[in-house]
Symmetry: C3
Subunit: 300 residues, 3 copies
C-alpha cells in the first residue's frame, strides 16, 4: 500500500485541543460549559476547590453532572480528582466513577503506581472511562516514560508547568526555557506510547498574545492541545491546535504531487524546494486527517 493511502495514526483518538477547567464548588462556572466549545471540560476537585469545600463539592458532583448534561452539554465531561498522595484521592475516584465521568484526570502523578487505584476502580466498576495523568513534578517528569506505559486506560498526559516550577523552584519567564526540557520530555513520553499530550496553562488570563505564542510553541513541539482557563482561551486553543489553511493546502498539493510521482515510479523527489520522503508524506496525511475537526469547529 502506498503511504499516501494508509490510515492515520490519529484515527482512534478523541482529539483534545482544549481542556477547560472549572472549580467543583463553582456551579455557576461549570454550568457555562455548554456555551464554551472545549473538546473536553473538567470539573476540578483539586487546586480549584479550597480544602474546606472539598467534601461538599464531592457530594454535589453527581447533581452537577446531571445539571450540566440537562442544560444541553453534549461534550466530554471529566473530573480532576485530588493528588494520589492526598487524603481525598480514594473518595474522589469513587465519586467520579459514580457520576459516569468520561475522563478522570489524576494530577501530580509521580510514578506508575500512582495510577493503579484508578485503573483498579475503573475495571472493577466495569465502566469505560479514560484516564488523563498530570505530570507536574520533577519526579513525574523523570518517570514520564514509565507512567505513560503503565495503564491501558491512560489516554493523555497533561504537562503542568506552574506546579512543576514550584516543585523545582524555577522562576517562570515569558520564553519558558526553564521548563522546555521537561515540556519536551513529557511530550516524547506521550508520543512514544501514542497517547495525547496536552500542554501547560497560561495563568495570565488577560494576555491573549501570550496565550497565542504559547499555544504555537506547544503546537510546534507536538502537543495536541492545551489547558484552558477561560472561554477565550478555549477558542484560541481550538484554533491553534487545528491545522492552518496553509498547512492544509500544502498537504493537499504535496499528496497530489506525490501520488503522481508514485504512479510514475519515482522515489526521492524535490517538491517546492524540499526533498520529499516518507516522514513528510505522513505529516501531510496527519494534517488532512485533522482538517475535518477544524471545519467542524468553524461550523458550530
Amino acid at each position: 500500500m502506498h503511504p499516501c493511502n494508509s490510515p492515520s495514526a490519529h484515527t482512534t483518538c478523541h482529539i483534545v485541543r482544549s481542556l477547560l477547567f472549572a472549580p467543583a464548588n463553582r456551579a455557576d462556572l461549570v454550568l457555562k460549559f455548554p456555551r464554551i466549545s472545549a473538546d473536553c471540560s473538567v470539573i476540578d476537585l483539586e487546586d480549584g476547590t479550597p480544602v474546606a469545600d472539598k467534601s461538599s463539592a464531592r457530594r454535589g458532583l453527581a447533581e452537577l453532572f446531571l445539571r450540566t448534561r440537562e442544560s444541553g452539554f453534549v461534550g466530554r465531561l471529566g473530573v480532576r480528582v485530588n493528588a494520589p498522595n492526598s487524603e481525598f484521592f480514594a473518595d474522589d475516584i469513587k465519586a467520579a466513577i459514580e457520576c459516569r465521568a468520561d475522563v478522570i484526570l489524576v494530577p501530580k502523578v509521580e510514578k506508575p503506581d500512582d495510577l493503579e487505584p484508578v485503573t483498579r476502580a475503573i475495571q472493577s466498576a466495569g465502566v469505560d472511562i479514560d484516564v488523563f495523568a498530570g505530570i507536574e513534578t520533577a519526579a513525574g517528569v523523570l518517570n514520564a516514560a514509565q507512567i505513560c506505559r503503565c495503564a491501558p486506560e491512560l489516554r493523555a498526559v497533561i504537562f503542568g508547568a506552574e506546579d512543576l516550577a514550584t516543585d523545582i523552584g524555577a522562576r517562570r519567564t515569558v520564553e519558558g526555557s526553564e521548563v522546555l526540557v521537561a515540556r519536551s520530555m513529557v511530550l516524547l513520553a506521550a508520543k512514544a506510547t501514542r497517547i495525547l499530550a496536552i500542554d501547560q496553562a497560561v495563568v495570565d488570563i488577560r494576555d491573549e498574545a501570550l496565550f497565542k505564542r504559547d499555544s504555537e510553541a506547544g503546537r510546534n513541539l507536538g502537543y495536541d492541545g492545551k489547558i484552558c482557563l477561560t472561554p477565550r482561551q478555549t477558542e484560541l486553543a481550538n484554533l491553534a491546535f487545528s491545522p492552518t489553511n496553509e498547512e492544509i493546502s500544502y498537504a493537499e498539493r504535496l499528496i497530489a504531487h506525490c501520488r503522481n510521482a508514485y504512479t510514475q515510479g519515482i522515489g526521492t523527489i524535490d517538491f517546492e524546494g524540499k526533498m520529499i520522503d516518507a516522514p513528510l508524506i505522513k505529516r501531510a496525511r496527519d494534517i488532512l486527517y485533522l482538517r475535518q475537526f477544524a471545519h467542524h469547529d468553524q461550523a458550530r
Copy 2:
C-alpha cells in the same frame, strides 16, 4: 492546615548560593576565605592543583584547615577530592575526613557506585559530613536521577558545564544552549530527591555582565546557587540566588490576599491578573522563607 501556613520544603537545608573554590596548593588564596562571604568554601585537590603537587597539597590539608579556622573563618569548609577513577581518590577522602571537612565534593560522578567509597568512609569514621556530587560528563548526566537517590549523605549536585562540554565535544556559546538539556536534567534529578542544585562556573572571570546573566538563567531554571571562582563572583551569586525585593513584596501581597480569600472560603481567585492556586502560593512561601538569608547577607 491552610497551605499558607505549612512549613517550607527548604526548611531543613543549608543554603548554598555560592560555592567558592581555591586550589589546595595555594594557601594564599585559601586564607582569603574569611574575607569572602561564600555560603560554602572549598579547598580543591582536583583540577586546581597540578598532579605534581597533589601529594604535598594533601599532606598540608590539615594545617590549611587549622589556619583557615584560626584566621576567623566560621563558614562551611569543604574539600574537592580527585575523581573516583583517579589514583588519588581514596587518599583524598581519608584526608578530608581527618580534617573534619563540612563537605566532601566528589567531581565527575558518573554512576551511583562512584559515591560508595565516600559514604562508607564517612559512616565508618562516624562523622557527619555532607557529600556534594559533581555531574559533569555525559554518563553522569544520563545517570543523574539514580546518582541523586543513591547516598543518604548526598546534599547537593553541582552541574559542571566546562567539563561536560569537553566530555561531549561541545563548543561553549554565550547563550549556552549546548548544555541547556544537561543543565535541566541535573536540576530535575536534584529536585526530585529534594537536594540542592548548584550551577555551572563562568570561567570568563572578568566578564561581570556574563556572570549576572548566567546566574539569572540558572536561578530561573531552579538552581539554588552557583560555582564561584572569585570574590566578586561570590558577591554576585549571593545576590542572584536571594529573592529580589519585588519577589518578596509580591509574595507578601499574594499571601495576604490569599489568607483573606481563605477566610471568606473562596477557591480559585484572580490576583493581579493571574489565576491563583496551590503552586503559586507555595512559591510565595518559599520566597518568604529565603528572605531571611537575603537580609542577613545585606547586614554583614
Copy 3:
C-alpha cells in the same frame, strides 16, 4: 603524564563529518560519489527508494558497489537498510553484508533488540562492518542510552529530525527548539559510550545559509558530523565540523602556555582572561587532533 601529552579520546575513531545519501534506485546519483568528498557515502534502500523498486534495487546493490569502487571511489561506502519492523530488513542486511559494505545504517532504531539481527548477521559472516543507528522516533530517543550501549559494532548514531517531527507531530521551525531536547539526548547517549554522533538533515536543499547555521548549532552541541543530501551540503559539512583556524591557533597558544606553566609547577592559571584547568586543556588537544583532517580536506 601531563594532560597535554595524553592521547586523544578520538584517536581510534573514523571521522564522519559528512554522511551523504543517494537512493539505491538512482545509479546516476550513486556514481557521483567519487566526485564528492563525503567522509561516508551511503546507498539508501529505505526512504529514498520507492516500495515498488526496493527488490530490484536490492538485487542491483552488488553491481552498484562494484561500479562505484571501479569508478575510483576510495571512501567509506555504506548501505541504509529498511527499518527493523519492515518486511525488507532481513534481506537488506544480507545484501549489504554480501556487498562488503563498510557501514550498515539501520534507520528508526527504537530499542536495543532492533540491532540484534544486524550484529548476529555480521558476526556469523565473520566480517568487519560498522553499524550506524538512526534515532528518529520518540521511543528511540527515550531508549537512546541503552541503544548506544547494546552492540559492539555500533560506531555512530544519527539523529533524524524529520522522521522524529513526524513521529511526535511536531512542526519544524527554523530555530529548531521543537527537537532541541531530543537532539541533545541523542548526543549525550552517543558521547557517554564514546561513539560518533551525526546530526540531522536540512531538507531545504537550496538554503545554504540555513545549512550553515544548522551545522554550527549541531557542532556546538557536540555533534561530529551531519547528514548531507547534496554535494554542496557535503562541502559545507566538512568545513563546519573541522576546527576553525582561530580554534587551532587558540589551542596552540593555550597548550604552549600550559606546558610552560606545568614546567614551573603552577596549577590553576589565568590565560587570556579564562581560568584554565583540565577540561580546557583536553578540548584544545582534541582540536589539534582534528586539525589534520581539516588540512587533508583543503589539500584534496
